[in-house]
Symmetry: C2
Subunit: 255 residues, 2 copies
């Protein structure tokens, strides 16, 4: 298969590249940093909508799968930049590359367990997705008092909602979209999450025994990207070693 | 891998056997009817708890995966029998076979989109799962005025809850459980669902264009049964061609 991937240089993206290449696929990567082992690298700053338009214009496709994995973790004062990359960069890349997808193509986005409360927070998600573009983000972030951790959760809630929203439109084009929701994964940004979440992260990690490995997430992404998962559409699949299920059992009194 | 499977003679189970055998696995099947192509068939009436105990006692394992697929559709006056097979039969088979699972083993249960409202109906699900056994079902069904369609939905809600509940206990044994939720699938029982659901089924089917094929569900079951999905635990994965996602978009105003 021909596969396009954003965020390929480290973490889950790098592990996904490794898996896809081992399976004999051709990988075109969009990343600000140079990824190892891809067939083609388009250098692009995914917080820059013009740069995304330029980079995506350089590829012809047709791609059998599009993996939207690029994303920033919560860091000091990065709410605007984070929402720019994780939401507007993702939507811009998807919009630009969709015309270059083959019939039957699969889109897989990387969401997160951090987005699990998307339903409760739907009004804010809708407001975010209704903004005219990233230029409106500074005012939105200030008006809603969105700190970096909330920005991260909101960005992943938006990825889940974006995925749902594509279902009917893509069905008409014989395409589909799904997303994956990992929790703590052993990547270069795990430290950022531990710092942002504190005790909550430590408790979940202790309960499941270890962080996830990037390749364990990549395995699910590869499955969803390929034809074997063709009837799975518009879904958010959690891949977290059981953290979410155990927390839900606690919440609902399922001892 | 060595795989044990309930409900192997038709529909999704038969397609799963085909996939597993094509991949070189050894399949032991529990079914009242003789399945094609399995390595070993244990004839068993899955509404009879004693028969389940006898049949499971005849196998040694160790099994790398246990697929709990057997289930009845809603039919005239079958609420008690349906709940017996779909819930108590499933739990009895799981309990009896768990000691025969290998370290790292994966359990995959067949739930259904019909169980999607498990959270709203949790009190009734808990009451059902708290019954001492299937002998208590006639009174439970009468007291709760459970017709066959509600019995089917309740049984699949119970499968989702049962799956969640296994997560922490199985984690301690280095095992895991997940379930799959298909919607309309082109199997011998599709007619029963069309009769029970009427217009609702027709609308969903028309929107997605066709029923799912058994092999499209089997592909997800095989993925969840194998080591590639090892970090997916306690999850319910919907596989319905997008029906649930589109209905959710309608419900939440995600146009």
């Amino acid at each position: 298969m021909q596969i396009a991937l954003t965020g390929a240089a480290s973490g889950i993206g790098a592990a996904t590249v490794g898996r896809l290449k081992a399976a004999g696929h051709h990988v075109t990567a969009f990343d600000i940093a140079e990824p190892a082992g891809v067939d083609r690298w388009l250098p692009v700053d995914l917080s820059d909508m013009d740069a995304i338009a330029d980079a995506t214009a350089q590829v012809a496709g047709p791609f059998d799968a599009l993996i939207l994995n690029a994303g920033l973790p919560p860091r000091a004062d990065n709410a605007v930049e984070l929402l720019t990359v994780n939401v507007f960069g993702l939507m811009a890349a998807a919009r630009a590359l969709e015309p270059k997808l083959a019939p039957g193509a699969s889109i897989v986005a990387t969401a997160s367990r951090a987005g699990e409360h998307w339903r409760q927070n739907l009004p804010q998600v809708k407001a975010l997705m209704g903004l005219t573009g990233p230029a409106a983000l500074p005012d939105f972030v200030a008006a809603n008092q969105i700190d970096p951790l909330r920005a991260y959760c909101l960005s992943k809630e938006a990825v889940v909602v974006w995925t749902l929203r594509q279902t009917e439109r893509l069905l008409a084009k014989n395409m589909r979209a799904n997303c994956v929701s990992p929790s703590a994964v052993d990547t270069p940004i795990l430290g950022d999450f531990k710092a942002a979440l504190g005790e909550r992260a430590a408790h979940s990690l202790a309960r499941v025994g270890r962080a996830g490995q990037p390749d364990e997430i990549a395995a699910l992404i590869a499955f969803l990207a390929g034809p074997e998962s063709g009837w799975v559409r518009g879904q958010n699949v959690t891949v977290d070693g059981g953290m979410t299920a155990m927390a839900l059992c606690d919440e609902l009194g399922l001892g």
